[in-house]
Amino acid sequence: MPVYVRLEDQPLVPQRELAELIAQAAGDGAVVSFVGLARGTAKDGETVDQLVLEHHPVMTVQSMEQIGSDALARFGVTHSWIVHRCGSVDSGEPIVFAAASSPHRRAAFEAADFMMDQLKTDAVFWKREQGPNGSNWIEPTEADRADRAKWDQ
């Protein structure tokens, strides 16, 4: 399956996803993968115990499928693969796995980079950091928007 996306409410195991993608990528020459982890410290230095990811019953998976399909079409990769956590994720645990396979490495690197930039601003999730002093909503930063915009130039 060239585009694979999954919303995961259980702990994400990146090595399993990578092994599965490699098994399906027979014939390709490159696999590039990215793993995003829940940070233990907020921007203001406060401790973060958990990242809570809320989602929409339909639009979240739809947005992930769109990003995976766009990567496939734009970079000509053979597979795009996105697994994203929902629910409560302890700091240090994986939140997202985004990967691509292709005949040559450049397209796979670019597709993985592209998917992460799109996920930051366009994937339908609402994130809040929870710590000893309460919770804070996290929204895309100017840097995230600039990273996203560079693909439109």
């Binding site: 939140i95 930051k120 601003t121 994937a123 999730f125 994130k127 909503w137």
Partner: protein, 81 residues
């Protein structure tokens, strides 16, 4: 009356769900203004294109006409990854 649902930060600041009386033929943009008039502290947010509106699992523009039988969903700015 149209059922309005809020997601993310807006669900916490307004309510997860509420009913709003809208005139027949009202658009999404008019509904944004109506809700903003009830929650003036969120007026800038509600007018922002970063707050997206979804009807029937499709993102819609401000000129989209509201069908009172279909819930209208307001998305606070989204962020994955």
């Amino acid at each position: 009356m149209v059922q309005v649902r809020f997601y993310g930060r807006l669900a916490e600041q307004i309510a997860p769900q509420t009913d709003v009386a809208v005139p027949k033929g009202a658009t999404v943009g008019e509904l944004r203004s109506l809700i903003a008039s009830r929650h003036p502290q969120l007026a800038l947010d509600l007018a922002s294109p970063l707050v997206r509106v979804c009807i029937g699992d499709t993102l819609v523009a401000d000129d989209f006409p509201i069908d009172q039988r279909e819930p209208v969903e307001f998305f606070a700015p989204v962020s994955g990854g």
